[in-house]
């Protein structure tokens, strides 16, 4: 049974396995509750509560954001921890500590770096502020309109990367140093965890938290949801930026 015979057999087996798997899943899918019917079992008191009570209680018009950041907040806390841990793992893998000599860093900075390419720098001059503005809007209006911390953060990260590619690493690193990254991410996440820890503790033991719904429709209306959205946005943007830097250069500064 030499090597390629074994591979061929493995390939045949895998395709057979997947075909059987898909067959079973399709057979099962036919028996699932059909799409879109209002009488489906998953349309029960839970979504009705979120839609009816959510906006009233938390002041967030967008029921999904109310659910994510208030009712099922523990999931979303875990969510941002996943992001954080992923960033840490990438750091473990790719970060090159001080010891690496200068030329290795240059070698690792593999990509062609367009330095002050006139076309790019001019167009991004207009584009980058627009992207930032849009990102901030999405984050701030998370509880009023579709959007929120995660999507806003992603857009902010995109803006950062555009800036980086347009004006080169040196300029970006002026303000994006590793110390900044660590402090801001840690701060945002700590605030997030502390705030949610506080609300969990108060809620579970029946005490009254200082949160109040505020005037619905306004920016500063949904109690803790807005600050949490901002924290999430920071965490998301920072993580995505750091991952990009790690893969590209293996380090924040120099």
């Amino acid at each position: 049974m030499n090597k390629e015979r074994r591979d061929r057999l493995y390939a045949i087996l895998c395709t057979l396995l997947t075909i059987v798997f898909i067959g079973v899943m399709l057979f099962m899918a036919t028996d699932l509750p059909h799409l879109g019917l209002a009488t489906n079992p998953d349309i029960n008191e839970v979504p009705e509560f979120y839609v009816e009570e959510g906006p009233v209680e938390t002041g967030a018009l967008n029921a999904v954001t109310a659910m994510i950041l208030h009712y099922r907040a523990f999931d979303t806390l875990g969510e941002s921890c996943v992001l954080f841990v992923a960033a840490v793992s990438v750091f473990i893998l790719l970060r090159i500590d001080g010891t690496a000599s200068n030329d290795t860093i240059v070698a690792i900075d593999r990509r062609y770096e367009p330095v002050n390419d006139p076309i790019l720098s001019k167009t991004f001059l207009i584009l980058v502020p627009a992207v930032f503005m849009f990102g901030i809007y999405i984050t701030m209006n998370g509880h009023l309109s579709p959007g929120g911390g995660f999507s806003g953060g992603a857009i902010l990260a995109a803006g950062l990367l555009l800036y980086l590619n347009a004006y080169g690493l040196a300029n970006t690193e002026r303000f994006m140093t590793s110390k900044l990254y660590r402090r801001v991410t840690a701060l945002a996440l700590c605030f997030y965890a502390a705030a949610k820890g506080y609300t969990f503790y108060m809620g579970a033991n029946g005490l009254e938290t200082f949160e109040e719904a505020g005037i619905p429709g306004r920016i500063l209306s949904a109690g803790l949801i807005l600050p949490l959205n901002i924290c999430v946005a920071i965490v998301v943007s920072m993580t995505i930026y750091s991952m990009y830097i790690m893969i590209r250069k293996g380090g924040f500064n120099k």
Binding site: T18, G36, A38, D42, S89, L93, L144
Partner: protein
Amino acid sequence: MTYFFADLPEYAAMILFGVGLSILMLAKNLVKKIIGLNIMDTSVFLFLAAKGYVENTVAPIVTAEELGHIDPSLYSNPVPAGLVLTGIVVSVSVTAVLLSLVVRLNEEFHTLDIDEIIHILRKRDREDLK
């Protein structure tokens, strides 16, 4: 059979999941495996999102005026939306870690084929033994 077309997203999700699984197992190149993983995750999110859809309803964002008297039957189900959001963030972070692993493996072994990497390691083992 009346619902065949209505349930298309579910069938698509199941087939996509199978496709993702087969790519994961059959692909030699690690990056292809990661793509297969992504396909698997997105197919689940497709399935979940489809669950959220309710006929002739709108997204569950209410307007300030009707705060007092919200009729839930007008709005679709917000729960799957929340789940998909979390799912997407998870799959993003996982893909990031996998890709950085691939970068390191390539630096170390200069190949993207996991079987070859294992072969190299076995050879290194034998040298240690001697």
